[in-house]
Each structure stands twice: as C-alpha cells, then as structure tokens.
C-alpha cells in the first residue's frame, strides 16, 4: 500500500511540476487544487500556481456586510443641512446635469428636495457625522474608514448588485469571494473558503430578492462557489446524516467506501478516485466543524449582549454577525453577509429606522469584538449597498414622510480593520448630496482596493476563459492608496 501511494505521489508530482511550467493552462489546472485544504493556503502559496499574493497582504480575510437594496446615505452618514433648508424645492437642473433616472421617478413632475428627518451629530475624535438611528455605530466611528464618494454605473438592483459582486452588470462572472478563494486558497481545511449568510430586514421585509448567482463561481471551478450557511437543522445543504444514523455508523460507512474505492483505484489507476476519497473525508470533517461553528451556546452572556438580543435568534443579521466573527476566528477566507430590505422608495423614515435597528448594534459589536480578539488588524470589514438614494423625494413629500429613488452618483460605504485608516473619511459630496465634489471612488476602485489589501494586484490576477483574460475589475479600477494605513 505504501509503495503504491509513493508511486502515485511521485508520478503525480512529476506531472504536476510539468504543468506548473505551463502558463495559463497550468494555472487553470492548479486552480483545482483543493481550496479547502491548507495545502493551497498561505503555507504553500506556490501550489496555487498563481504566485499569490503578489505582495504582503494587510488583511488575511474579509467580512463583507452587504446591505441589499441601497441604504440611504442621506439618512445615515452623509449629512446635508442644505436639503433641510431647501425642503420641497425642486432639484435644480444645474445639479442634476442630465443624470438618467429610473423608470420609477422619470415620469415625476417635480423633484422636491428633502433632507433627513433624523438628527445628525458628530462623534469620536474623528468627528464623523452619524444620524440618530445609528447610535452604536456612532460609538465606533474612530474604527471606521468612511467613503462618502462611492459611485456606480447601474441604476437598478439586479445589475447594480451584480456589478458590486462580480465587476460586471450582466450575470456570468465569478463573485469577489470566488476570486479570493481561487487566488488565495483556504486557511482552514474544515470549512468552506467562501461562506455566505443571509438575513431579512424588518424595515421592508419584502422588497428586493437575492440571487444565488451573487455568490456563484461564474467561469471559475465550482470549488470556489460560495457556500450558504443557513439557520436550522441543516446549516449547509445535505450536511446532516439521515435520521437515526450514528457518527460511528457514518465513520464505518466512509471507511468501507474508502476501502472499496481504493480497490477501484488499484484496478483503474485513475487518480481522480483519490481526490474523491479526500473530498469524502472533508465532508466528514465539515459535518462536525460546521455545526461547531454555528453553535453559539458557548458564547458568554456579555458577548451576546454586545451583539444584542437578536443574536440568539438564528437567521437575523445580529446572529449572522456573531457567526461571522466565529468564522473569522476559524480563518474562513471570505465571509459574505447579505441583509435585505434597504429599498426605501416610500415611507423611508419608518422603514429605515427599523433597518438601522437591525444592523446598528451588531455591526458595531462585530468590529469591537474582532478588535478585542486581535482579529481586526488582519480582517477587513466592508459595509455598504449597491447604490445610494436620491436627494429628492420619490412620491409625495409630506411633513413627516418621504421616499427616495435609486441614486448611482454618490453614496457612502465604510470599511474597518485590515489595513484601512481608522477614524478617516475619504471623498466628499456637494451640498445637495447629489454629485461628488472630491475623490470619487468607483465600484472597480473599491474592488481593486480590497484586493490590494489582500495582497493582490488586481491587474495581474486574471483567469483566461474563452480566450480572454478576465479579472474582477474588468478593464478599469484603481487602488485608492489614500485610505490605506
């Protein structure tokens, strides 16, 4: 037996090394190195064949808190008193400058400006503006790096969210987490490299859907697809053994499968059989490691209180933030949360207050919890949606109520940890909160910067598909060095 394995080890190593010299084809082949295996991780960088990272990374892992629907920057972070002064007046053409509108407001007779109903104050040493509905976030602003000058090209949800996740408005390309899995491999041999958690907002529980292609692998190997972690009995699809089956029975069955498969391998000489045996072992380990990650019962009371009571309700944003921290502790490379419900076309004040309540405390807790564990320094936390919202009201403006349409020309995101300047604000919008005054940051710039923090030169990290070298940032994108530590 040992001789046989040695034989294959040698054989395959020879083939492998040959392929390493093969340029792109070799890369594609090497991408199938088990990304869940530590072999493909930091300690064996060359084994991924991609020569990544290109330089020393500032962050080892990412927690991306996607706020789906398009949170209103004007009611959370981008304080514009002029809009309160000019409330009800029409958006001047000189400000709009022909910007295309969605079909939802393009027919509107007037575009009455509206400032936020919520009170803004400055917080921390960084004196960052935060509205009254984000009290916990206000307390941690000195950890945050705000980008007030995000802008995108898409004006509708599906293309806009697809653009953020894949660098292209049309579906079909790999998600950012898949790129990371492909490029950097795994740090943990028991959990998926790219893990996904979903939650539904209470502000507008039914507004915009999500699509599983947002965490899809596109043209990369399906080894790199995001794996959804769900609340309930089966946290990863098909993880749970059939009712009544004991662990020792599962182990015994796997041992038989492995032994019979080895006989096949001896007869057919197909190395793929060995890979299958290893995948079964990984599956077996996941059956323990996933529930262990999901089980928050060992969390002390003060931690639960830090994230808020929702943290004990599986499937909430707060619970997912706590899980995100547990995943980060276990070195999951890319942890992606989606919180739905940020699409406030109407009844914005009441809806957004609830949305903010969903996420405020837990987001702040996540950052501080990472910090107290020493994880924040090499974990990059990203918060933001797919576009911003208009400075004028969609629908009728009343004394207490308004709505806002999609706005691609400026919106706010923030990041924390992993190599970004804490207590810093980048970019600036005009007094109308409609255009960018200073330091615009495009979606591709954000992607380029995230990759940079992970040690990747976004122009060099490509994958050849149908004859063309594709990259996350398509053909553009600049690293924004000003926000880096």
């Amino acid at each position: 037996m040992e001789e046989l394995s040695k034989h294959f080890l040698n054989n395959n190593r020879r083939h492998f090394l040959k392929k390493m010299g093969l340029g792109i084809g070799g890369l594609a082949a090497a991408s199938l190195l088990d990304p869940f295996s530590s072999l493909a991780g930091d300690n064996n960088l060359n084994l991924t064949g991609l020569n990544l990272p290109h330089f020393a990374p500032k962050a080892k892992r990412v927690i991306y808190l996607f706020q789906s629907g398009g949170p209103s920057q004007l009611d959370l972070f981008d304080y514009k008193p002029l809009l309160n002064k000019m409330r009800g007046q029409d958006l001047p053409d000189s400000v709009r400058q022909g910007q295309r509108l969605t079909g939802m407001t393009s027919g509107q007779e007037s575009f009455p400006l509206v400032g936020s109903n919520f009170k803004f104050d400055q917080y921390g040493e960084s004196r960052a503006w935060v509205s009254s509905i984000m009290p916990y976030t206000a307390k941690v602003v000195d950890e945050l790096c705000f980008i007030k000058s995000m802008h995108t090209e898409a004006i509708n949800h599906d293309p806009a969210i697809t653009f953020f996740q894949t660098g292209s408005q049309q579906p079909g390309r790999p998600s950012i987490g898949s790129w990371m899995s492909y490029g950097l491999g795994s740090l943990n041999e028991n959990l998926p490299t790219f893990s996904v958690l979903l939650s539904r907002g209470t502000g507008r529980p039914f507004s915009q859907p999500l699509y599983s292609r947002l965490w899809g692998n596109g043209f990369l190997s399906s080894l790199h697809q995001g794996v959804q972690f769900r609340s309930g009995k089966d946290p990863v699809l098909y993880l749970k053994d059939p009712e009544g089956m004991t662990r020792s029975q599962r182990r015994a069955m796997l041992d038989h499968i492995s032994e019979l498969n080895q006989k096949q391998e001896a007869e057919f000489g197909d190395p793929e059989i060995n890979s299958r045996i290893a995948q079964y072992e990984m599956a077996y380990r996941m059956q323990t490691s996933v529930p262990d990650t999901m089980n928050v019962e060992d969390e002390p009371e003060h931690i639960i209180q830090m994230y808020g009571v929702d943290a004990m309700t599986p499937g909430t944003y707060a619970a997912n933030c706590l899980l995100a921290r547990r995943m980060a502790e276990r070195d999951v490379r890319f942890i992606q949360l989606y919180h739905m419900g940020w699409d406030q076309h109407f009844d914005l004040p009441s809806q957004i207050e609830k949305q903010a309540k969903d996420i405020d405390q837990a987001t702040a807790a996540l950052i501080m919890d990472l910090k107290q564990r020493g994880l924040l320094e090499d974990t990059l936390v990203v918060w933001g949606g797919e576009f911003g919202r208009t400075n004028y009201s969609q629908g009728t403006l009343t004394d207490t109520n308004y709505g806002r349409d999609h706005h691609p020309k400026c919106f706010t995101m923030f990041m924390a940890g992993g190599g970004v300047k804490p207590g810093f604000t980048y970019g600036e919008t005009d007094d109308f909160g409609y255009n960018i005054n200073k330091d615009p940051m495009h979606v591709h710039d954000l992607q380029a910067t995230i990759m940079h923090l992970m040690g990747i030169d976004h122009t060099k990290f490509t994958h050849k598909h149908q004859g063309r070298r594709f990259r996350l940032t398509d053909v553009s994108g600049h690293v924004v060095h000003d926000i880096l530590t």
Binding site: E2, K18, G25, S37, R100, Q208, R230, Y238, I257, Q466
Partner: protein
C-alpha cells in the same frame, strides 16, 4: 492491497498530500507528449505545448505558423497589435500577413518581419530586448514571452516566416483514411485516424472494455440511464457478433435517446422555466423543450434542426412546428424589474441571441466584438453589429410586466396540438398556453453600431451581414434570419460542420477533438486530430447531417470500446488522454446521478415531456431570497412528478436546483456548450444525505427484500449489480455482506436507530448498504 484498518488509514492520510497533485490530472489542459514530429498533438493551446517543449529545450525541426507561432502572437501580441483598430499600437498589426510583413509606418527601412532574416526583423529586436522601455510585450501588460517562445519566433523567421490562414476558417477537406499497422483493431474510420496517431507515438490502443462496462457506458451516453439487469444479462448471454450493435440500435430508437440529447441542448440553449432577473418570474418554455426531445428522436437532420430554431418562422409556409422551434432564441433572460430602462434590456436580449447563435453554432466568441473590434479574431465591431442586426427585428419589450407573456408569442391549445404539434404534452388541467417565439414584427428597426456596446450610444448604421473572414454573405441570400441560416449551412462555411461534430465527439468522449468546443478562434485550442475532425465534418454533411448515424459511428468505434483502465505508462505519457489510447473514465452528469438512483431503485417514472416538475428540494431555499413577488415558495410536487427524469426539473434561474449546481450544471444564464468537471466535498454530502438518494436506497432495499427465497449473498450482489452494472468480486462481496451483518448488530444494540423509522433491522441494513454502494466512485462513473 493491504486490508487492515491501520494501513488503510495511513493511506487516507497520504492522500491529503497526493490529492492536490492528483486533481491536476483531471483537467484537460496541457499535455506531456514529447514527440514533436507530428504537429497535431496539442489538446490545449499551443502556447502550453510550446512551454512543455521548453522543458526539453527541443525546438521543432520545422516551425509551423498555425501550431507554433500564431498561438504565441495571438495570446501575447494581439491585444495591442491585433484586429482591434481602436487599441492598435504603433500602427502595427500582427494578425494579417500584410500587417506583419509591411514596413513600419515611422520608418520605411524598418520591417517587423523580414523572412529569412531575423537580425533585420524589428520583432526579434523587440522581443529579445532587455531594456524595459524597448522590450515587447511591455512590462505593464503583465505578459511575457518565455525563452522558448522567443526561439520559436526567431526560428520561424529564419525558416522564411511562412504564413497560413487560421485553420478553422479554411474549409475542411476529407482526406483518405490513413494506413495503420494493425488494421484488425479498427472497426470504422474513426479508429484509423486514432490508431495512426498512436502508431506515430509508438503506442497501442487498450484492450476492449468488459461487456458490463461497455453496456453501462453506451446506455448512459445514448440515453442518460443505466442498463437494467435484464439488459445486462441479455447482452452478456448474446454471443453473436453483432450483439453490441443490436444494443446500440435499440438505444438509438428509444425515447430516452431524445431526452439524453435534449439535456445537452438545453444547456446550450440557456433553457429555464423563469425569466432570470430580479424577481425571476415563471415562464412557459417547456413545449419547446418537448419539441427538442421529439426532434432528436425523429432524427431531424442537424441542418433542419438548427435552421428551424434560427428561422423556422421565415420558412415559406412555415408549419406550426417550425415556428415552435424558434422559441430557441427566446430562452434568454427577460427582466420585469421596476424602473429599468426598456431599451437597455431589449439590447441585451438581442446581444444574447447573437452570442448564443455564434458560440453554439459557429464556435466563435463574437461577443468580444460588442464594445470594440475583436481583440483576437478577425471580427470587427461593425461585423458584430451586422450579425446582431439579424436578431434585432423582433417587436419585443425590454421590461415586461408581472404576469405578462412577452410578445411575440403563439397560442397553443389542444386543437393546435392535435393538428400539428403532437409532441406537446399538454395536461388536461391546462387549456391554453402561450409560447414566446421569434417574429420579425419590427422589420423597419435599424441597427447601429453601439459605441462601447452601450444601448444609448448609437453610431453608424450597419447593413445586416456576417463576418467576411468566415464566408462572404452571398447577395442572393435574403437579409434576414433565414438567409443567415442558409449562410451557416452553406457547404463552404468551414465552421458549422466542424463545430457540430466536435460537440458530438465531446458528448461521447468527454472532451472535444478541439477541447475548447466553444471557441474555434485564434485563442481556442488546436484540434488533437485535425484530419479526423475534418473527415467527420465532411462526412456529416455528406450524409445529410444525420445525427444518429454519426453517434452510432462514434459508439461503434473500437476507440470508444476500449477499457478505461489507465496503465501507469499512459498516465505518465498522456495523463489527459489526448491520444485516446484508452477510454476516458468519466463521471455521470448531474442529471444522470439522480436519474440513475431513481432508475435502479425502481422509482423512476418514465414519462416524456409536459410542464416542468418540482422534486424534493431542501425547504426554504426560495423563501430565503424572495422579495415576496413571484415564485416565493418552493412546494414540491407529489406523486409521480417527484420521480421524473431530471431534465424535467423546474429551473428557477436565480435559485437553480441545488444538487444540479453542486454537480456542475451551468446556471442557464447564458449559452454553455461545455460543463465543468469538479470534485468537491459538497458533492459527497449530496451523495451521502440527499433525501432523494436515501429514499432510493430504501426503496431499492425493500424491493430486493421482497423476494424471500434468495440468499444474503445474492441480495448484496443484486444491489451491487443494479447500481454499478457489474458483479462484485469475491472480496468485495465478503466485505459488503459483513457490513450488512455489522449494521444489523448495531440496530439491535442501539435503540435510537430502531426508533428513528419504521424500517425493520434487515431493511435498515440493506438501506445503508445501498447508500454505501451509491457512494462508491464507480456508481457515478459511466464505465
């Protein structure tokens, strides 16, 4: 083979180190054949094949432009010195002979390439330069040339820099079938071409697969289903010379043949049961799917099959069937998202049709010319929009309303079905359906070049037409889709037949003769057996595009019938099996894995067509992501709809059936002609725990236990045979029988197990046994 547990555990441990290396072998890239006497050895791009030779530092004696030089120029130079005028640097283009040989504009004394004189060739000066300001490719391109590649280019110029047209744009020639050493081995022409290559490499084909392997393989390839034990036994006992051919003929006339072929065509056609964007509402396209199944079963010739789908509505006196076929080009996604700009999306649909037609039928990635001239292939942006124009006359909306059936469509009731559409299986509960079809009901819409590919940036108007480099669009052809279809099937179109037979080859052998079955352009792979590809292409056309005849030829070949055992020397020499000195051991598709479980356990409901069905799916998947509109909750069907073949499973694009995705099915967002082949832990979890597979295991166990007269050994044998199509060895049998006993003991000693279900001790043991066997590697291998 060591049997004790310790050793086996140690082996498993060792695997963690082997696996990364082993997986590499999976992918059909690269090759490791050192003999360079034959040019046609690469299954991947020649750049790789050159690099490999770099290891041996062995330059070919004669440098071939197509196989050695152009792949380098294309991959490293065309980006700035290729077909795209917009980004061309220094006025130099290397993709045309004129461009490459002419004097450089800035200095008439300076030539890029001077045949025979590398020292005077500017290209050599540039690629060998060590000054970062001078060297090509420039450092900021992130592209480099290896020493070997430089030497190839230099030697090519030394040898006179002979130029040839791109192979796939030159019409295929049917050459004489070659002479081979062992003619007795060959069954048909395919084998002569394969054996010729093996002769050159001094290799021999493998011996024939066992009859059990063979019947399993051909059943899955032609029908997507396993052979029954009766089928296997009949074949094993049939000692006549044409026993195998009888099986093949039977399969080609079975209805399951059409279902199997349709499954592949659905990927290519991006078929789905929903619109695909945002709220992703339901649509009815299944009558078209049923037409595809029927068309394959009736063996409609490939040219008709494609022409109807592209332009059936324009055929004079078009039949309802021909119109239904055009639904092919309405399978693209459609948005209903509030607030989108109509024209933006309408343009996407036209793009999708043009891209699908180009990729699927012509093997070209024409979409690359959407925003600018193609970077690698001689297709200008203008030509792309000329081609796009054929699909731009449909009177359709970009944004549809909730519940709206997009125009143009046709109404189908039982009356139409009785008269002309017998292949549609309309349930009694449905009185009328409306099917989206193609219709040029916006005949006056003009087509413009779109700057940067953007809907709101029209440039010059273009005439309808096709890329000149493939074949001139004859003035006698009408400028509509029907004319286009005829241009595609003109016998001088060098691509159509090659692309078709290559895909058929891929279907049977796992990898195409051109491994990039979606790209026959400059960046695509070169054919591993070019003369065979051409022979098949011309023959296919000469035989009237007869698909069944072609498939029969492929599966009857001795090449196909070889064993899939890999002797160590072949693993070393040809790990990717480019030479086909053996059959490639290949995995069942996502559909086959489930269908196999249903079939062998006796659960499968064999019924053709009708509305898509909803088998088991883990609860909550739709509900978790929905906006509350449209398909908000997945409610599994009941009764026989739970057990239909997987090609009938309802396909919601934004949340596709999870097990299908786990086993490498594409998302159906776009045309795909080739699936990935991966091995992941999530696949292991599906095989171990998917309730469908557990139910199949239970059902199989119960069925086998019904016969009280047979022995324990025979029961185990029966289950093993049903799932793997072969008899277990003595050793395997002993191990499995022992396993059953162990589980029975477990059952007795552990009350939790007994309480968990209604199964008896024996039922439980045989269920686990069945599950174990379903999880063997062999159970998901074709043979």
């Amino acid at each position: 083979m060591a049997k004790d547990k310790k050793n086996s555990n140690r082996f498993v441990l060792a695997l963690y180190f082997i696996v990364p290396f082993a997986i590499v072998l999976l992918v059909k890239y690269g090759l490791s054949i050192s003999d360079y006497s034959n040019k046609y050895i690469s299954n991947a791009t020649s750049a790789e094949h050159s690099d490999l030779n770099e290891k041996t530092n062995k330059l070919p004696d004669t440098i071939d432009y197509i196989f050695d030089v152009k792949p380098i120029l294309s991959d490293r130079c065309y980006l700035c010195h290729g077909p795209d005028e917009g980004t061309r640097e220094a006025g130099l283009r290397l993709d045309t002979k004129d461009g490459a040989y002419k004097a450089l504009a800035s200095n008439l004394e300076n030539y890029t390439i001077v045949p025979g004189k590398p020292e005077q060739s500017r290209l050599v000066y540039k690629i060998t330069n060590t000054d970062p300001q001078q060297v090509m490719p420039p450092p900021n391109s992130n592209l480099t040339l290896s020493e070997y590649e430089k030497q190839v280019l230099i030697k090519w110029i030394e040898q006179g820099a002979a130029w040839k047209s791109h192979w796939s744009f030159v019409a295929p020639q049917k050459k004489e079938v070659p002479k081979i050493i062992n003619e007795k081995w060959a069954t048909n022409e395919v084998d002569y071409f394969i054996a010729k290559r093996l002769d050159l490499e001094e290799l021999k084909p493998s011996k024939e697969a066992s009859k059990e392997q063979l019947i399993r393989r051909v059943y899955f390839d032609l029908t997507g289903l396993p052979p029954s034990l009766e089928d296997i036994d009949a074949f094993l006992s049939d000692k006549t010379n044409n026993a195998y051919e009888k099986v093949v003929d039977k399969l080609l006339t079975s209805n399951a043949y059409g279902e199997r072929m349709a499954a592949t065509w659905l990927d290519l056609s991006r078929y789905a049961d929903t619109h695909g964007y945002q709220d992703d509402l339901e649509r009815i396209m299944w009558p078209w799917r049923d037409w595809v199944i029927s068309a394959f079963n009736r063996n409609i010739p490939y040219d008709e099959f494609v022409k109807w789908q592209l332009a059936g509505d324009l055929i004079p006196n078009a039949t309802p069937e021909q119109i239904v076929a055009t639904a092919f080009n309405r399978n693209h996604k459609i948005t209903q998202e509030g607030g989108v700009i109509d024209e933006e999306y309408r343009v996407e649909y036209v793009m999708d049709r043009a891209n699908t037609t180009s990729k699927a039928i012509l093997g070209l990635t024409m979409e690359c010319a959407r925003c600018h001239d193609h970077k690698y292939d001689p297709i200008s942006q203008k030509e792309f929009y000329s081609f796009y124009g054929f699909f731009n006359k449909v009177g359709e909306k970009g944004q549809i309303d909730y519940g709206e059936i997009p125009e143009p469509n046709i109404k189908i009731t039982q009356k139409e079905i009785d008269e002309a559409l017998a292949f549609i299986n309309l349930p009694d509960s449905i009185k009328e359906i409306k099917l989206m079809v193609m219709k040029d009901n916006a005949p006056n819409r003009k087509t413009h070049i779109l700057k940067r590919g953007q809907y709101d940036a029209p440039d010059k108007e273009v005439e309808l037409g096709t890329p000149n480099v493939i074949l001139k669009y004859s003035d006698s052809l009408p400028k509509n889709r029907l004319g286009l279809a005829n241009w595609i099937f003109n016998k001088d179109n060098a691509l159509t037949a090659r692309v078709a037979v290559n895909r058929m080859w891929q279907h049977i052998f796992g990898v195409g003769i051109v491994s990039t079955s979606d790209d026959f352009g400059n960046q695509g792979a070169l054919p591993s057996h070019p003369e065979l590809l051409d022979w098949l292409a011309v023959t296919f056309r000469e035989e009237g595009w007869d698909m069944k005849k072609m498939y029969k030829r492929l599966v009857m070949s001795s090449t196909y019938k070889q064993t899939s055992k890999i002797p160590p020397n072949l693993l070393e020499i040809d790990p990717d099996n480019v030479l086909l000195a053996r059959y490639s051991r290949s995995k069942l598709t996502a559909e086959m894995i489930r269908d196999n479980a249903l079939a062998v356990s006796g659960l499968l409901v064999n019924k053709i067509g009708g509305p898509s069905v909803k088998p088991y799916q883990p609860p909550g998947l739709w509900a978790e992501t929905t906006s509350g509109q449209g398909l908000t909750k997945y409610i599994p069907d009941t009764g026989e709809n739970l057990y239909r073949r997987s090609l009938y499973t309802f396909w919601k694009r934004t949340v596709p059936p999870p097990t299908m995705m786990t086993f490498d099915a594409p998302t159906r967002d776009f045309c795909e002609v080739k699936r990935q082949k991966t091995s992941t832990p999530l696949q292991a979890l599906v095989m171990l725990n998917d309730p469908q597979l557990i139910e199949a295991a239970e059902h199989l166990a119960k069925t086998v236990l019904e016969d009280k007269t047979i022995s324990k050994d025979d029961r185990v044998k029966l289950i093993f045979r049903k799932i793997t199509s072969r008899f277990p060895t003595e050793e395997e049998l002993t191990e499995l029988v022992q396993y059953v006993k162990t589980v029975e003991t477990d059952f007795e000693s552990n009350s939790n197990i007994a309480k968990s279900g209604s199964a008896s001790k024996t039922e439980y043991a045989y269920t686990l046994l069945s599950s174990l066997i379903f999880n063997l590697d062999e159970a998901i291998i074709k043979g």
